[in-house]
């Protein structure tokens, strides 16, 4: 199937020239910096979610330990 797509529509499968084999310059520098900013923001938010999930799990375990068993 992939081979068929390569033969039938090669232009749709190859990376766009903006990202692929682009010469080094201000545009690539800017794109790289922008990606790092976005990754940084995403990681901060994800770290917050993970921290919250761990907190909920620990509190849940603590509650289960204190509750009387049937």
């Amino acid at each position: 199937m992939t081979m068929l797509l390569v033969v039938a529509m090669p232009a749709r499968l190859f990376a766009c020239p903006i990202c692929f084999q682009l010469e080094q310059g201000p545009v690539t520098d800017g794109m790289r910096a922008a990606v790092f900013v976005l990754i940084g923001v995403t990681l901060v938010v994800l770290a917050g979610f993970i921290r919250f999930a761990i907190r909920v799990a620990r509190r849940g375990e603590a509650i289960a330990r204190t509750e009387p068993q049937p």
Binding site: P26, G30, V37, V45, F52
Partner: protein, 185 residues
Amino acid sequence: MIPYTIERRPDTGVTNVTMGVWLFLASEVMLFGALFSAYTLLRVSAPQWPHGRELLALGIGMFNTLILLGATTAVWRARQSQRLGPLAIASVLAFVFLALKSVEYTGELARGLRPAVSTFLAMYYTLTGFHAAHVAGGIIANLWIIAGAKRTGAAMTAGRLHAVSLYWTFVDVIWMIVFVLLYLS
């Protein structure tokens, strides 16, 4: 009736109101993160980038910073004292912020500084416009709390004051970043 709006959920340790506002703020961080990422792309790749302090009304911007800090301080005061008076003051200060922002926009547009002129100005109007929309949203939230305080009771109002204090702090932090990136660079 949504559960745990007043008392804390045992497993999360917070009320659902606080939980909801933190989730909302997380989505807001992603929104502004994308805008700051776009700013970085345009700024780093631009052959020339104007100095905002020379192009924009720095005096109004600095005064607006103080106004916004005052508004957030008033919201925190309302949260700590559980009174609505400081929240009304915060709303008035936030309205002054928007009024000054519109004065600033009018002056800039009169000088021909439209968004289409440069990528700097496009980013300036986008970032400050989004931020101003959040200030307007904060005013609506404040007025909604004041209007519903008698109906909902003290405990529910306390939760709402907690939520808006987090929101206004976020709006302040975003403004600080916007101010440094656009006015002081």
